[in-house]
Symmetry: C2
Subunit: 120 residues, 2 copies
């Protein structure tokens, strides 16, 4: 309950962040990241592992093919990796990467920085 942010400030924040991302001043050049992809990435980096396709799909309320495809594209960008769960080989464990961690960190810094510059 510690952060006080008016709706107006919230919009300005969102707008500033989106603008930087689109202008390619954001972490990297991914101007057409969707909320879906972002949410999957955030889940992997913010929630406690291990992460399975099923778990992510359930959390987001989307189908498993959606998650599989998102992991394909995030994997191509080297933001996540996959490996089989040896305990139950039906499962796939999604893991973080150095590049992904950097990306997420920079994204957090961007948002925090934009918040700092908001008008009262």
């Amino acid at each position: 309950m510690s952060i006080v942010l008016s709706p107006q400030q919230a919009l300005r924040l969102l707008s500033d962040v989106a603008l930087d991302v689109v202008r390619d001043k954001g972490p990297q050049n991914h101007p057409d990241f969707t909320f879906r992809q972002l949410s999957i990435l955030m889940t992997i980096y913010l929630e406690k592992p291990p992460h399975t396709v099923r778990g992510i799909a359930g959390r987001l309320g989307v189908t498993k093919p959606v998650v599989t495809r998102a992991l394909d594209s995030l994997g191509a960008l080297e933001l996540v990796t996959r490996r089989r769960d040896e305990a139950d080989r039906r499962n796939v464990i999604v893991q973080r990467t150095v590049k992904g961690a950097l990306f997420v960190e920079q994204l957090g810094d961007l948002v925090a920085d934009k918040a700092k510059g908001l008008a009262p």
Copy 2:
């Protein structure tokens, strides 16, 4: 300089917002909004009118066809409308709609609400 938000809180905020949007608890059902589309919408609703295709494209650093197509899709959702500038009929003036205003307002409320619930 009035808002203090740590990078960690910023990420949590972003994640929470994205999750709600994806789960369709957000303003409306647009889970695959991209940063590009969002940024265009925000420009129209937060920046001072009038808004032309050229102006928006310049602000975002994208080409004009990108803006035209985004306006097509945003228009189909009734979040914006277009009309010719009578003073200079080459220009198109992008205008807000009731539905779009409501959408943006709800988005601001969502972000503000999520911020309120952040851990210190």
